[in-house]
Amino acid sequence: MSKQLSQILDAYQDEKGTLIPILQEVQGEFGYLSEEALSEIAKFLEISQNEIYGVVTFYTQFRFTPPPEHTIKVCLGTACHVRNGADILDVVERELDIQPGGITKNHQFGLERVACFGCCALAPVMVVDNNVHAKMTVPKAKQILAKYGWEGKGT
């Protein structure tokens, strides 16, 4: 087991209800949940890997593969929806040639659709990594992708 992983687990001795916080911290450290990590967590908590897999797949936060360089989250909350957030998602999907949940071939961008960031007054919004881009338009979406280094389809 890697040193980082055992350090994380050590901090959770003798506590109840720790599975989700452990998964969150491990993913925060490594970017995703590897098979190795899951098997070590199972041993540590003395539960089956099967049970952990059930929890991991229930929550949208967790991932089994390394994250892309930049994550684009397009908000489709109610306020963004009535202000045409779907058009923003459309143009990003088309430009990056991926669907929500996907990652570009060069691992540069990942795309996610999100149900609400709570920035409804600035709708529609798109978040790249942790930067909120407010009052989005279709041309603005293309400019932002270019700003983050997207060079066009086939990259």
């Binding site: 929806h81 009535v82 143009v91 609400c116 409804c120 007054a121 600035l122 041309p139």
Partner: protein, 640 residues
């Protein structure tokens, strides 16, 4: 330290700050302010003050609710009222430092209003503005006024005096005070808070739990985020009071991970409470001991449901279970548990500070106090508002919200998120209280309020909410898992123009089954958006099904964009901006949209210069255009 000493120290610090000879600058840096650029404004202010060697006090405050005018920056000069400025850019901030702080010109044209005693010519009083006048601030009493990372600010404005009062009387007397206030749960269902507490207090067992539900999952709702970011202690004090009343020694805050700033501020608040003896063993020297942990959600809407939320805290899949037993009898780890949401807890602290009767003086007979709403959608002044119960929807939309942008027609308002309903224009004079909204087919909900105008399609809204609930259904019970899928399938085909004559009846039948047979409130309320849109906007469904037409011009499969040859000047703007290169033409050639390639994003309509207005959006209508681009002179010649 006794509470009196803590309070005295906090007040003297606060008064010293108020009496400071230095100018004070307040910047709203809640998530909404940050998204609008508040941090860049702050950096500019710091650099500018440094450059000019001005000694000023900068305070980061939470959201005051005027999201439409973010970023907000307020300036107080000694002996003058505080001035609030809106839509502040780094350039405007620099200008305000020079003009007001240095040269004493308050720039009234940039100001929204003054706060506090005294007045400044040409600037209205902040709380007299149309957006604020109808509002009453109870749970949001400190948001925008205190530094949320400084417990002394909260204490100086009456904070923790409610807890001190509670600890001086019996738990039963605390429940009585909440009873007198008439407070009902602000998470949506509106169950009387005192009754819930009484059940839990009376439940057998030594070990009991308190939970704050901060898993604000409704899309279009951000009331709790703003409250936690702007004044975390008001909620925390409420939790302590509840724990004392019920007899709980441990509490959890279940907060969604999408709110990192709120979580950070809660952690700071908990740390400061420990330092002041407000958390841990023997709080304020009493026999009452209590501790709080934060649990971050991992992204599942259903975890807002109380039994699912407790499963998630226990580290399991967040699936609801049937009730009874209710959490007050058997909740977290099988022990009696009391759950209230953020806004309810923040009201509890105010009630103990100022009395149940004072709280009950606001609102209606059955719905006491105030309610927070996040007002968004097609309304001029979007933001976070707190209004007395009983206010009408018209007062909210037109008074506070300033009406619909671009003089469009009001179509409806959606309350309660995916569990709520869409109310039509005829409901504008409906009072906002639990009973009236329920009778109209919607619910109070947690407080999302989305305004819709003539450009919103109600079939599309129903489809949108069903897409959400269908995806978030945990899959445990059949009515919700299968029923929402079937309803969504019908709505999708209707919005694509493939609706069948009996689809409305099928939808209604399914909706009633899903509503009545689902295990938890997610499924039980998921049909509301469908039922209310059919009830109030049936003609729109019929237009989609019978005429294959979307009257609001929203449903993509039923609309087309055309460039009118007699109006096109061949300027090339739409051709250049079209994201899918669906427009052909050339300089001074009439442009033509390839209908097969068009993705109907509407960019051409947005960018066509208003003096030409050559692009039209239609549904159920065909417009004849040339097959190939022709010179503009030819098309004009034909017309002329």
């Amino acid at each position: 330290m006794t509470f009196d000493e803590i309070q005295r120290r906090a007040i003297s610090k606060w008064e010293a700050l108020e009496a400071s000879e230095k100018p004070r600058i307040f910047i709203g840096t809640a998530t909404c302010g940050r998204s609008a650029g508040a941090l860049a404004v702050r950096e500019t202010i710091e650099a500018e003050l440094e450059r000019r060697r001005i000694d000023a006090i900068i305070t980061e405050v939470g959201c005051i609710g005027l999201c439409y005018a973010e970023p907000l920056m307020d300036i107080t000069k000694p002996g003058r009222p505080r001035i609030c400025y809106g839509n502040v850019t780094p350039e405007i901030a620099t200008q305000l430092i020079e003009d007001y702080i240095v040269n004493d010109n308050p720039c009234s044209d940039l100001a929204l209003g003054t706060i506090g005693d005294g007045s400044i010519e040409g600037i209205p009083k902040f709380f007299d503005l149309a957006v604020l006048k109808p509002q009453v601030r109870i749970s949001l009493r400190n948001c925008g006024f205190i530094d949320p990372e400084n417990i002394n600010h909260y204490i100086a404005r009456g904070g923790y005096s409610g807890l001190a009062k509670a600890l001086g009387v019996s738990p039963e007397a605390v429940i009585d005070e909440v009873w007198k206030s008439g407070l009902r749960g602000r998470g949506g269902a509106g169950f009387p808070t005192a009754r819930k507490w009484k059940f839990c207090r009376g439940a057998a067992g030594e070990e009991k739990y308190i939970i704050c539900n901060a898993d604000e999952g409704d899309p279009g709702a951000f009331m709790d985020r703003d409250l936690l970011e702007g004044d975390p202690h008001s909620m925390l004090e409420g939790m302590l009071i509840g724990a004392y009343a019920i007899g709980a020694a441990e509490g959890y805050i279940y907060c969604r991970a999408e709110y990192p700033l709120a979580i950070a501020r809660l952690n700071i608040a908990l740390q400061q409470m420990r330092e002041y003896g407000l958390l841990g063993d023997n709080i304020l020297g009493s026999d009452f001991s209590f501790d709080i942990r934060i649990k971050e959600g991992a992204g599942a809407f259903v975890c807002g449901e109380e039994t699912a939320l407790m499963m998630s805290i226990e580290g399991k899949r967040g699936m609801p279970r049937s009730r009874p037993p209710f959490p007050a009898i058997s909740g977290l780890w099988g022990k009696p548990t009391n759950i209230n949401n953020v806004e309810t807890w923040a009201n509890v602290s105010a009630i103990l500070q100022r009395g149940g009767e004072w709280f009950a003086s606001y609102g209606t007979e059955k719905s006491k106090g105030t309610k927070n709403f996040s007002l968004a959608g097609k309304v001029k002044r979007t933001g976070l508002i707190e209004v007395p119960m009983g206010i009408t929807i018209r007062q909210i939309v037109y008074g506070i919200g300033g009406g619909i942008p671009a003089d469009k027609k009001f179509k409806g308002v959606q309350t309660g998120g995916p569990s709520g309903g869409c109310l039509p224009a005829s409901a504008l004079d409906l009072p906002v209280d639990y009973e009236s909204l329920t009778a109209a087919g919607s619910i109070m909900g947690s407080g999302g309020m989305i305004v819709m105008d003539e450009d919103t399609c109600m079939v599309d809204m129903a489809r949108y909410f069903l897409t959400f609930t269908q995806a978030e259904s945990c899959g445990k019970c059949v009515p919700c898992r299968v029923g929402t899928r079937q309803m969504l399938d019908i709505l999708e085909r209707v919005s694509k123009g493939n609706g069948e004559p009996d689809d409305i009846e099928k939808l209604e039948k399914l909706a009633i089954t899903v509503r009545d047979c689902s295990l938890c409130a997610l499924g039980g309320t998921a049909p509301n958006p469908v039922l209310t849109t059919i009830r109030y906007f049936r003609d729109e469904y019929e237009a989609h099904i019978n005429e294959k037409r979307c009257p609001a011009l929203v449903c993509k499969a039923l609309i087309s964009y055309y460039i009118l040859p007699e109006k096109c000047e061949g300027c090339g703007i739409c051709l250049r901006d079209c994201p899918v290169e669906a427009i052909s033409g050339g300089k001074r050639m009439v442009h033509i949209i390839d209908q097969d390639r068009c993705t109907k994003c509407g960019t051409c309509l947005d960018v066509c210069p208003p003096r030409f207005s050559a692009v039209v959006k239609v549904s159920g209508q065909h417009i004849t255009v040339p097959e190939k681009p022709i010179p503009v002179s030819v098309s004009k010649g034909k017309k002329g």
